[in-house]
Amino acid sequence: MTGNKTKGGFSRRDLLATGVAAAGVSAIGFPAVLRAAPAPVKIGLIHPVTGFIAFSGNQCRQGALMAIEDINNAGGIKSLGGAKLEGLLGDSQGKPDIGASEVDRLVEAGVNGIVAGYASSITLATSQEAAKSNTPHVVDVGVSDKIVTRGLKNTFRFGPGYGKIAKFAVDNLDTINKSAGSPAKTAMIVHEESLFGTGTAKLLSKELPAKGIEVIDVIKHANPTRDFTNIVLQIKAKKPDLIIPANYYNEYVLLARTIRQQKVEAKGIYSVLGGAASNYKFVKEFPEAAEQIMDCNHWFDPTSSLALARKKAAEAKGLYYTYEVFLAYNAVSFLADAIERAGSVDKGAVIAAMASSTWDKHGMPYGPTKMTDGQNEGAQPVNTQVLKGVIEVIFPKKFASADPVFPRTV
């Protein structure tokens, strides 16, 4: 309670006194206190935080929010007078149509840019919807190459697409296989049924035979799949040298466990964008099932002190430092850098700044950003392998922390 004196409002004397005081303060120089703070820069963050890929969606959201927090703590957007970033959250529930309607809602709420949408199918929808209002849209993870080949001027992807990833995966697999005396001659691909899994499997089926590896079967499964025994029985019957999974976290974990349970004797498990193979959570919880699994996936530069500092900060918040976290972090930072250089939130200016970006504070094995038709040309995956419970980088050699173990010995 402040007492009854103020109940009737200001008296004329109070008003005069306040006015004089205010004039005095402004004269002796506290302009920043009295002047309105610059309007915040609103960033829409649309992720599947509920639904079948909620784990990944939440990881993305946490990564994006960490970036916003770090940028704000470092003084916000300096070219806009220190304007703070404000994250406006959206949930696509794992569904493209809901992702698109979340874009509409956030555009209506006045966002200056959007970071979305984890899954390829959702990202296709969010970027297209954002293009209608020319809202800058940065793709955090979505790997389908269709995302950046539709001529949408507002859409940029900082990470690599599955075309590049599949080629990289096949080339490195060929190197690993040849240096072991080419023990792998056949492979089976197990993939989830949405755009990411289907597209990746198609590319691999096309590329692998050229390297002397015959694809003897491709098995597609639904999300969620509650039991993988049937699939693993088929793998056992066909006895491929290599098992190549391309699926999301939950299904990957069940698949890896079942492979172990059913005593499948493949020479290697080589995932391409495996949801769990290069995931600290999986490796920590199931070291036995994860051991010696190889993966071709998004990964930070293990030699970058910036990347390691961010990893430490994420882990201090109780997060597993998965690819979702650092890709979403970088997507927000890339957008913020463009706004900083544009010195404005004008959509056209921000898009032009993203197109000409040479940003390099990402801690990724990419080199400075170089956008061609919305795709960062320098972006590339790495190969990892779980060795004695640790996720080691095995390719490219420049970033490698261990040599590959192939054929597997467990």
Binding site: A222, N250, R257, Q261, Q262
Partner: protein, 290 residues
């Protein structure tokens, strides 16, 4: 075309998976079949049971099978309280109200778990996680074999309870003639609470037997709820033996469907059965009329 050598292992696997489905469906058949409550919160409550087992295991080191002594009684109390405190009160005796109340409960429970547990997928590690039982050339995971026999025992116990105890007789009386049951002195609200509690306790049993071979996250119930409804319709409303049989059939159909039609189409068979049963045998295999 699949390799014929894997048909037997696949059918056996379908039977063990089907037993897990049957466990989830047993509680539903009691609530849905006997009391005519369409419990949309069944999947969400299964998730609550799974989290209970998860935390008892990770925080107190309890084996999931030891949790059978703790989780089902807790789930029973939760079910009883939900029925007496929320569902019964908000329903005002109308079926459509119950439907909306349970749907609302499901949304509230799922969102609360998203808030408290986050959306992480969690698994437990047990010493027998990779142990298998070799039978007819198939490696059957030990946790699924245990779940298979657990489902048989649970169905048997429920049948005994319904057939041989006063509570069972009261539940059956209430299902047939609510007013008549009230006139002979049955405490209707109490029996409703007990039935709902028993149905939810079944989910507690299912959770203890499921977690060693599965995972938990706030959305985990979605994958089971439609299948459980199908099993209840297939087996016959209110029939525990029917639910068990229905679960096993659905498990095998799913396994063989996956093998012959491709994994992503494997579930089509389940829903084709659902439609065919509704058209040609609306009473289900062993039950009363739908």
């Amino acid at each position: 075309m699949p390799d014929w050598g894997i048909i037997i292992p696949s059918v056996l696997n379908g039977l063990t998976t089907g037993a897990l489905y049957a466990l989830v469906a047993l509680g539903l058949t009691l609530i849905y079949g006997v009391l005519h409550i369409i419990n949309f919160a069944h999947g969400a409550l299964l998730m609550v049971g799974l989290y209970a087992v998860y935390y008892l295991n990770t925080q107190f080191g309890l084996d999931p099978y030891a949790c059978l002594l703790i989780v089902p009684p807790i789930m029973f109390a939760l079910g009883y309280a939900l029925q007496r405190g929320i569902i019964g009160k908000a329903a005002h005796g109308r079926d459509e109200n119950i439907l909306l109340v349970t749907l609302g409960l499901a949304i509230v429970i799922e969102n609360l778990s998203l808030y408290f547990f986050r959306s992480d997928t969690r698994l437990i590690d047990t010493p027998y996680a990779f142990t298998t039982v070799e039978f007819l050339g198939a490696f059957l995971p030990l946790p699924k074999v245990v779940a298979f026999f657990g489902a048989l025992v649970t169905a048997g116990l429920l049948w005994l309870l319904m057939a041989r105890t006063d509570l069972g007789r009261a539940i059956r009386a209430l299902a047939r003639e609510r007013k008549g049951a009230s006139l002979v002195g049955i405490d209707i609200e109490h029996v409703y609470g007990m039935s709902f509690g028993l149905g939810i306790a079944c989910l507690g049993v299912a959770a203890c037997l499921l977690l060693p071979s599965y995972y938990v996250n706030p959305q985990v119930g979605h994958g089971f709820i439609l299948i459980a409804f199908t099993i209840v319709v297939l087996g016959g409303m209110g029939s525990f033996v029917g639910a068990l049989l229905g679960g096993l059939i659905i498990g095998v159909v799913e396994a063989l469907g996956g093998l012959f039609l491709g994994e992503s189409l494997g579930q089509i068979g389940i829903f084709v059965i659902f439609i065919l049963v509704l058209i040609f045998r609306p009473t289900g295999l062993l039950g009363q009329k739908v």
